[in-house]
């Protein structure tokens, strides 16, 4: 009894937080789920019932496989557990099949794979310097970081209501960041390579990784003023990094290369025909661009500057996924978005190359890359904001200035996720949870920033 008491009352707050959020996720099982639920059920069916050569060709359902091969293998592994829950879900013809057992299995699989995310958060907490904090538990940066990450409101909505598998993917990303902080660069690179082959959206932040590893790992020493020392270049390191990336890619794309299916796979992964904006606009630059175009076209029609017959009938706001032409402003091509994104990430990448500031500098560059790609990318989902919010949490517990930026970012980011929830009960519940989480978050950050202001030297 006493031992149990010590174990429970010993103040292991991390386990309490993790367990608490897992219980909350269990309560979210019967809530509304989007078409992504059917997407993943379909992928379970495809990977289970069809041979590998058919995976990227199967098109019975409109939700074709558009994630890289590692994710397909992940679904394949899950399907072997799924058959004990409900065999019917693994039939490719069973479109929109969602029995209660299917629902239970899928939801539990997300909750279960979040274990990797919990582990990654645990590792990230180790990288935080907590010596400056006060005695109070709720003021410790580790505690605040754990709350910010484990109870991230946006991740809860996207993963456990809307239904996706971002938990363990973000776990991989946070783990690779933690490894880089802990100077275990090879592991970090390996984890990121694996992550890329799970979900290629993480290409948004690949420049940060590439430049950082090249600059701070392959060049082993700096000159006293911080600039690059060319003769410290280590071929061994470059080659080992290259080997890691090559081996991971070979493992992933190898089978499909052997089957001569690489173009098909790439066309599935990068569907440029889907249009500039997703069905529900991500709050990025192109949304403003479209809005401006719309306003100008209305003004043009009113002032009789435009011929009504020449304006395309299709509307960008209809909620469909198609390609459109702009009426007044020039149309945007994928190449244009790529160029805008590259211009946007250039300053941060330059800073990372010329003035490396260790892992913190890398993290800042990563966040900026994510944000730039979000703002200027082609066919961006609003869920992509999480790519910027989650790493920003790591920075926010370090410096007061970052904390205030994070507060704005996370509030707007999570607010922009609300359209994902159609139904009234979910909106009510999530509004309550979100309000509660954001107020406690604000309080926690304010408290820790007050501490940091008083303890950190100026200019740090």
């Amino acid at each position: 009894m006493a031992a149990l008491g010590i174990a429970m009352g010993g103040g292991n707050w991390f386990s309490a937080l993790a367990l608490g959020v897992t219980l909350l996720k269990c309560l979210l099982i019967p809530t509304y789920h989007s078409t992504d639920f059917e997407v993943h059920r379909n992928w379970l069916a495809i990977t289970h019932s069809l041979p590998v050569s058919q995976w990227y060709y199967e098109a019975t359902s409109e939700w074709t496989l558009d994630y890289p091969p590692f994710f397909a293998w992940f679904e394949y592994a899950l399907s072997h557990v799924a058959k004990y829950f409900d065999q019917e879900m693994l039939n490719v013809r069973n479109l929109n099949y969602s029995s209660s057992r299917t629902l239970l299995f899928q939801r539990f699989s997300v909750i279960f794979t979040d274990a990797l995310f919990v582990y990654a958060v645990h590792e990230c907490c180790k990288c935080i310097d907590g010596k400056k904090a006060g005695k109070e538990l709720t003021e410790k940066p580790k505690f605040i970081l754990s709350v910010l990450l484990l109870w991230n409101f946006g991740l809860l909505i996207v993963d456990h209501i809307h239904f996706q598998y971002n938990g363990f993917l973000f776990g991989l990303m946070l783990l690779s960041i933690a490894r880089l902080f802990q100077k275990r660069h090879m592991e970090g690179a390996f984890l990121f390579a694996v992550l890329l082959h799970f979900k290629h959206i993480y290409l948004y932040v690949a420049p940060a990784y590439g430049v950082y590893l090249l600059r701070s790992y392959c060049f082993t020493a700096n000159k006293p003023d911080g600039s690059i020392r060319w003769n410290s270049f280590s071929f061994v390191r470059v080659i080992s990094l290259g080997l890691i990336v090559f081996l991971v890619s070979a493992l992933s794309l190898g089978p499909f290369l052997a089957l001569n299916q690489l173009p098909q796979v790439l066309s599935r992964l990068f569907p440029f025909k889907r249009g500039l904006c997703h069905a529900y606009w991500a709050p990025n630059f192109w949304a403003l661009y479209n809005a401006l175009d719309k306003v100008l076209s209305i003004i043009g029609l009113e002032l009789k500057l435009l011929d009504p017959n020449k304006i395309p009938k299709a509307s960008m706001t209809s909620g469909l996924v198609q390609q459109f032409q702009h009426t007044v402003l020039p149309s945007v091509t994928p190449l244009a978005t790529l160029i805008c994104t590259l211009i946007a990430i250039l300053p941060s990448v330059f800073c990372l190359w010329f003035k490396p500031q260790g892992p913190r500098g890398f993290l800042r560059c990563l966040i900026l890359c994510a944000l730039s790609s979000f703002l200027f990318g082609w066919h961006v989902h609003e869920k992509a904001i999480l790519l910027a919010v989650l790493p920003m949490s790591l920075l926010s517990v370090g410096k007061a200035g970052d904390a205030s930026i994070f507060l704005i970012l996370t509030t707007t980011g999570h607010y922009s996720l609300f359209p994902l929830l159609f139904t009234a009960p979910e909106k009510k519940n999530l509004f309550l949870i979100g309000w509660k989480l954001s107020t406690s978050l604000a309080w926690g950050l304010w408290k820790s920033s007050v501490n940091l202001y008083s303890l950190s030297p100026p200019g740090s």
Binding site: M1, A2, M8, G9, L24, C26, P425
Partner: protein, 460 residues
């Protein structure tokens, strides 16, 4: 959900016809429902008009109903709990917050109010305001609040005797010739006035009033209905008393047993009114009523759980144990409503919250269990009686294992053909045994409480 029918019935019958509404709750419930019905009419008249089609449920209507429960909770119950915890003495702020959290997390109330759908939080909230008022010497306000509670749900009469005895004891203490008498008159006037105010619209006809009373106290219905964790139901496993004894005799023995079991505590409270004694007497009286009274529903256990929540800070171990058992006793009802997942999640969350906030497993010594004086008295006759806390710990372990096993069995297996109610009866029987044990325990605490105080005074 029966509740939808509820509102429409009121609204349609209220306008012209204040007669007999076919209801078995006192007037305040009716007024509350009327208020909700007016709001519902404002939002969507269809919800009220469909009083003829029972079982009508649309998403929006359900959301509205659930929101009314939440609003009632926020306005009445939650402020009472928070204020109660603030007024606790000799506890740090952190413990007060933890205490409030644990009380609010009590699974039974959450599941019945939000899962099954009822308005228990209103009557329990009013009762809690009553307890607060009376404990802080605001006797008139406290008794007014308690009268409101009784007029909301007549089951609150379970709590009425301790209120009566406590206030009477206070009057005696102040001296019946002077201030005490004045207080007594004031209290009587408050009670009578509040009752008149609530019942005024119904007092137009004597026959009607009698009808309402007959509905509120259905003596015709018999000793018990369905399966409840009550002495009579458990006894009827061995001996079918419902069929053997004549009807009026059943009422008499139930009255006698109830009265006898609560007499000692109430007498003690009248002679020595103290805030602590008041709360424990609330527990033991409500438990006596639950075990021995007639026509008890399983949900009535909530009336016992509320006072136990109030003593959570004083005997955390036993209170947590009781609250877990009380939730378990409602298992058949909750399974009928398909609330298994919320039940498991909220029970685990509650258990972990209590275990970590109060370190309950470290507080199992005799002194912590407030059994010190009792075991000292027993040791005068039986010197070897030293294993009390060890026994209780083992009992707890056995109890938890039994409850978990019974839950698993009820959920996974089918009952045998000859005994279709086997599992619910087992649950009720096991819970009843627990409740008897707790009845004895709480009575011991009350009776042996100031005995040591009196002995101390004698010694001094």
């Amino acid at each position: 959900m029966e509740c939808c029918f509820f509102f429409s019935r009121y609204f349609n019958s209220s306008d012209n016809n204040l007669q007999y509404w076919g209801l078995d709750y006192p007037p305040l419930t009716a007024y509350h429902s009327l208020l909700c019905a007016y709001v519902a009419k404002f939002i969507n008249p269809d919800w009220i008009a469909l009083h003829t089609s029972r079982g009508y449920e649309s998403q929006a209507h359900k959301l509205f109903m659930r929101t009314t429960v939440l609003i009632a909770d926020l306005l009445i119950y939650i402020p009472a709990v928070v204020l109660y915890c603030c007024c606790l003495k000799e506890i740090s702020t952190k413990k007060k917050v933890a205490n409030a959290l644990c009380i609010l997390l009590y699974p039974g109330l959450i599941l019945i109010d939000y899962g099954h759908f009822q308005y228990n939080s209103v009557s329990l909230g009013f009762a809690l305001w009553g307890v607060l008022g009376v404990s802080c010497d605001w006797d008139l306000l406290g008794s007014l609040a308690f009268c409101l509670a009784i007029n909301y749900k007549q089951m609150e009469l379970y709590h009425s005797l301790p209120f009566f005895c406590f206030l009477l004891g206070k009057c005696f203490k102040k001296g019946l010739k002077g201030k005490g008498f004045v207080l007594l008159i004031k209290l009587a006037c408050t009670v009578v006035a509040s009752f008149i105010l609530c019942w005024l619209p119904f007092c137009t006809e004597r026959e009607q009033t009698l009808q309402v009373l007959r509905r509120l106290f259905p003596v015709d219905r018999g000793l018990f209905e369905d399966k409840v964790a009550n002495i009579w139901c458990s006894f009827s496993i061995f001996l079918k008393i419902k069929e053997i004894l004549p009807h009026h005799f059943q009422i008499i023995i139930s009255f006698c047993f109830t009265f006898l079991s609560l007499l000692p505590a109430c007498v003690k409270l009248t002679l020595q009114p103290s805030s602590k004694g008041f709360r424990f007497t609330l527990v033991s009286c409500a438990l006596s009523f639950f075990l021995f009274s007639f026509q008890v529903h399983e949900k009535s256990i909530l009336l016992v759980s509320l006072p136990v929540c109030l003593v959570l800070s004083e005997i955390p171990f036993m209170s947590t144990w009781f609250l877990l058992v009380s939730t378990f006793s409602m298992l058949p009802l909750l399974l009928k409503d398909e609330l298994l997942m919320p039940l498991v999640v909220t029970t685990i969350a509650f258990f972990i919250a209590c275990a970590t906030s109060f370190s309950i497993f470290e507080k199992t010594s005799e002194e912590e269990l407030q059994l010190k004086s009792f075991s000292l008295s027993v040791r005068k006759y039986l010197p070897c009686f030293t294993f009390l806390s060890r026994i209780i710990q083992y009992l707890f372990l056995i109890s938890v294992i039994t409850m978990v096993l019974l839950t698993l069995i009820t959920v996974t297996l089918d009952p045998p053909q000859k005994l279709p109610d086997l599992f619910s009866v087992l649950v009720c029987f096991v819970s009843c045994l627990h409740f008897l044990f707790f009845l004895v325990y709480f009575n011991i605490i009350i009776m042996w409480d100031s005995k040591s105080g009196r002995n101390q005074k004698k010694i001094n």
